[in-house]
């Protein structure tokens, strides 16, 4: 279908965005890459009176590495992250995850900030940001604040963003050189919504995995940090018995809802399979 009738303003500054949001409240929506929002408009799942296009605002895109921190502007596209030599070098998890996001034409337009602010439970970036313990820069009329990724995702399409706030950037501390990462996902077809996926990061030293983080997507209303499985594996060598123990512990972390294709038991089973693959990749 076609989008419903609406008004459109191309904002020139964040100050203008805040004023428009204040004036129009819930009748306005912020438009970034539009790869979810415009689809939602077309399907009439959303019908704002006003779209505020933020894509021409300066300083909201780009990737910068400074003092051991990677700063990614909210308007940086999935494709820019996928191809960035800095990301490949300093945050390989993001480079591993990017090819799983939809299809090339969508990655050319969709943005990381848009994906995080939407908080689709099957999306890749939220789980990556939880695994990497990212901090989000958030701006509003009264000022800016930082929100940890682990406190940001509140539920199905629900975040810690207050009305009239905009996510401006993501900051991630570069893990040390001894860290390894893996991103594994199952989907019906390449680029489809994930049935299950996991973003995994750990320090590998002397054959053991420490500071392990396993963040799941598609397994709940928001990304899930699998603390029991992480604890079961902490400081251990990745072998058949330790991987089995960590996978077993997942039943305490994950309580997936069935979807159209998979029962809850199937989803938990798939999460265990993915955990085994991710841990093997971290240890390899």
């Amino acid at each position: 279908m076609k989008a419903p009738p609406l008004a459109y303003i191309r904002a020139r500054s964040l100050a203008e965005v805040f004023t428009l949001l204040e004036t129009h409240g819930d009748n306005a929506k912020v438009l970034a890459g539009g790869q979810s929002l415009i689809a939602a408009l077309n399907m009439r799942l959303s019908a704002p009176e006003l779209l505020i296009d933020i894509t021409r605002i300066k300083d909201l895109s780009g990737i910068e590495v400074r003092n051991g921190t990677v700063r990614i502007g909210a308007l940086t596209t999935h494709a820019e992250i996928e191809r960035s030599p800095e990301i490949r070098k300093f945050l390989p998890l993001l480079a591993q995850a990017a090819p799983h996001i939809a299809h090339p034409a969508i990655r050319n337009a969709g943005t990381i900030g848009g994906s995080l602010a939407l908080a689709d439970p099957a999306a890749e970036w939220p789980a990556c940001c939880v695994a990497l313990d990212a901090q989000f820069g958030v701006a509003g009329k009264v000022g800016t604040r930082r929100v940890a990724a682990r406190d940001f995702f509140k539920g199905l399409y629900a975040t810690a963003l207050r009305p009239n706030e905009v996510l401006t950037h993501i900051e991630i501390t570069v893990p040390g050189p001894e860290y390894r990462s893996a991103f594994v996902e199952l989907a019906q077809r390449r680029g489809d919504y994930a049935i299950a996926g996991v973003a995994a990061v750990a320090k590998r030293a002397g054959g053991t995995l420490t500071d392990l983080r396993l963040a799941f997507l598609g397994m709940g209303q928001a990304p899930v940090l699998a603390r029991s499985a992480m604890a079961a594996m902490e400081g251990k060598r990745a072998a058949a018995d330790t991987i089995a123990a960590a996978s077993e512990a997942l039943s305490r972390d994950l309580d997936p809802a069935p979807d159209l294709y998979s029962s809850a038991a199937t989803k938990l089973h798939l999460a265990r399979v993915l955990t085994g693959r991710a841990l093997a990749a971290l240890a390899a």
């Binding site: 989008a3 008004a7 077309n42």
Partner: protein, 159 residues
């Protein structure tokens, strides 16, 4: 509503090398603008929610979904459609390979397939069959003629 909140906006974009200025309703998709206002009906409208890829066009040199972009968002940008890319000769080799390999049946997906494939050929001249399939994962062929399409793209890559 304040004067700035208009339902239609004067928009200038460059389509296949030619600057175009029109008042465009804010809700109109880029693909509908190209087809209905400019008569460029080579790009097709399929699912209208970003799944099928038949509306693939290029904006500022990159492939995008014409149904997931409003025409007003293309203000100041360069848009290339199958008509322009075909006339310029950029797709000639690929078109010839599609013809030779019989890589289309009804042809509805073909413009999107060609534009998407050309991006892979330009960016990854050494792409494998697996990479071709990944790159085309967002372009559906309802006649299911994928094998011949992949063959045709592989022919061009191998040249």
């Amino acid at each position: 509503m304040s004067p700035i909140m208009e339902q239609a906006l004067e928009t200038t974009l460059t389509v296949n090398g030619t600057p175009v200025t029109r008042r465009i309703p804010a809700r109109q998709h880029l693909i509908d603008f190209l087809r209905e206002e400019l008569g460029l009906t080579g790009s097709h409208v399929g699912c209208e929610h970003g799944v099928c890829g038949t509306c693939t066009v290029r904006v500022d040199g990159k492939i995008v979904r014409g149904c997931l972009m409003l025409a007003v968002q293309a203000d100041g940008r360069r848009v290339d459609t199958i008509e322009g890319l075909s006339d310029s000769g950029e797709l000639a080799e690929l078109q010839e390979a599609f013809h030779r390999r019989n890589a289309l049946q009804c042809g509805f997906c073909t413009p999107g397939m060609l534009i998407a494939a050309q991006e892979l050929i330009a960016n990854e001249p050494g792409a494998s069959r697996e990479r071709i399939r990944e790159h085309l994962s967002g372009n559906y062929c309802r006649c299911t003629g994928y094998q011949a399409i992949v063959d045709a793209i592989e022919d061009v890559l191998k040249k």
